[in-house]
Symmetry: C2
């Protein structure tokens, strides 16, 4: 962790997931956007996590996050509540999945309350939640954060378009996947889609393309990051959140949001996502040795390298 | 063109195309894999083109290729024959197309005859043709060429699998797109697909992914090249052939087939493909100014650049 690393505020969901992939099944395992994103960001910067669980949740599951410097003061245990549960089954191509069940439980009424100490957070990650809940987070900030990153999903594009557009105007950076970018923009061409989306607010946009890497749009700059070539993706769950956590964690660590830092952040996000999908649940993010992290970044560098014209 | 540039032999089709895209329609325009590939390769190396047309073909259409140093000695004008004609309509996403008509004409009985001077060609490109026709080209070579590159398509995977596997064993490099790689290998994961395909023969493999760039597999090396971010693709026809021509042209120019040269070749192929799709038919490849070529390569370099870990 850099000595000048700034704090990262992560607000999102905590879930108990049941996941089936072509490689096996994991029942009642730790999940949720806040969990994945906080774990990934913790490799770069100190993290404050704001989320909610029910009384059924075994808080010892978060001891690995605490050991990684994640502050859980903002974790609410809802009296009499049950934790969000999600079940999904991935198809053989791992790009599509069926949701088998969704029990929103405490997530359905999640009303994030930021501890006083986090209201001045310079780097803020709004995990995938209803845009009105995302707005509630920003409403509690003492001052405009230095960099606000938001995630969203097709559901909100479909059922809360107006509220989503309102929050887009308050983001510095939106991170979405390619199908969401196409749906949100109405354009199949991702370069056009990016231009359309950025007109809605976020000056910086990251489009995640799964096995095809990611695109970063910032100012007039376009950056194309490769995906790590994995023969087996064991469990794609949380890859997007790990990406977002690693991405914002790097920016907070450098305390810079210029093009060079953003390009590196996309690669760090991709690296953390690649560790995430190599194991079930959050297993791949529990304890990545520093050498393995550096080696993965170097592998991305090698993957994309070619010599200048000569 | 490099002073040490070696000759490139291109064998493929010549067509009269009628193409409809969301941007317009081009009727009875010049096409064919040999045309696109020869035009692209001519920016790097001297080219010998072997192909066939009917008596209906206006040979003046090739004066731009001759001006670019393409030798047409191997162009056969079939007596009483008609030129191959193809009509297609691209869907709005430009990734899928309907073939409206295919009149094979002289292509249906194409029996390539290599002029004596081309039988020692060190760099050979076998355009997308029946694998038995591709084999006939190699059978005429005086010696094993230094580097043989082949293209193919789903049709041959489906109806001539055995013949295709036989020719794969004689290629140094196969260039195919992602859907073809999945079909040929039976694996959805492109990293696994690449391993399966390389077991069939070609030590070097390029998988083209359209808007997502291209992957190169060579030895234990994997290279991920970005795609040039184009807001509008006017006509995708010939992009794959332009890629192959630019790719092999660069290798012939350098007279090297090591990893560094192959990585650059993938980028040059992508650059030529990007010029190709910006106009209808071969218009985009007629005369790219050297400065525009260099600038496009530099744009790819910038697109993929990020700083090492720090």
């Amino acid at each position: 962790m850099h000595p000048q690393a700034q704090r990262v505020l992560v607000v999102g969901s905590i879930g108990i997931d049941t996941v089936e992939t072509p490689f096996g099944k994991a029942t009642d395992v730790l999940g949720g956007s806040a969990t994945y994103a906080s774990a990934a960001a913790s490799y770069f910067a100190p993290v404050d996590m704001v989320a909610a669980v029910g009384e059924d949740f075994d808080l010892r599951q978060f001891s690995f996050l605490q050991a990684r410097g994640v502050n859980l003061e903002g974790l609410e245990v809802v009296k009499g509540g049950k934790t969000f549960r999600w079940g999904g089954k991935y198809h053989f191509d791992l790009n599509t999945r069926d949701t088998l069940f969704t029990d929103l439980n405490v997530l359905g009424t999640f009303d994030p309350k930021l501890p006083a100490a986090t209201r001045g957070s310079p780097y803020v990650l709004l995990g995938n939640m209803h845009p009105l809940v995302q707005a509630k987070v920003l409403d509690q900030m003492a001052a405009r954060p230095k960099f606000v990153v938001g995630d969203t999903m097709n559901l909100w594009i479909n059922i809360a378009r107006k509220e989503l557009e309102a929050i887009l105007g308050r983001l510095d950076c939106l991170i979405i996947n390619d199908s969401e970018a196409r749906e949100l923009s109405g354009s199949h061409n991702l370069i056009k889609a990016a231009a359309n989306i950025r007109r809605l607010g976020p000056k910086t946009l990251v489009i995640k393309k799964g096995e095809h890497g990611a695109l970063l749009f910032h100012g007039n700059d376009v950056f194309s990051a490769p995906a790590f070539p994995l023969e087996d993706v064991f469990d794609p769950t949380g890859a997007g959140d790990a990406f977002a956590g690693g991405f914002l964690g790097h920016l907070a660590a450098k305390d810079r949001v210029d093009t060079a830092a953003l390009r590196q952040a996309v690669v760090w996000g991709s690296a953390l996502a690649s560790f995430c999908v190599e194991r079930f649940s959050v297993e791949g993010l529990r304890e990545v040795p520093p050498k393995a992290l550096s080696a993965r970044y170097a592998a991305f560098k090698d993957l994309a390298h070619f010599e200048a014209e000569a």
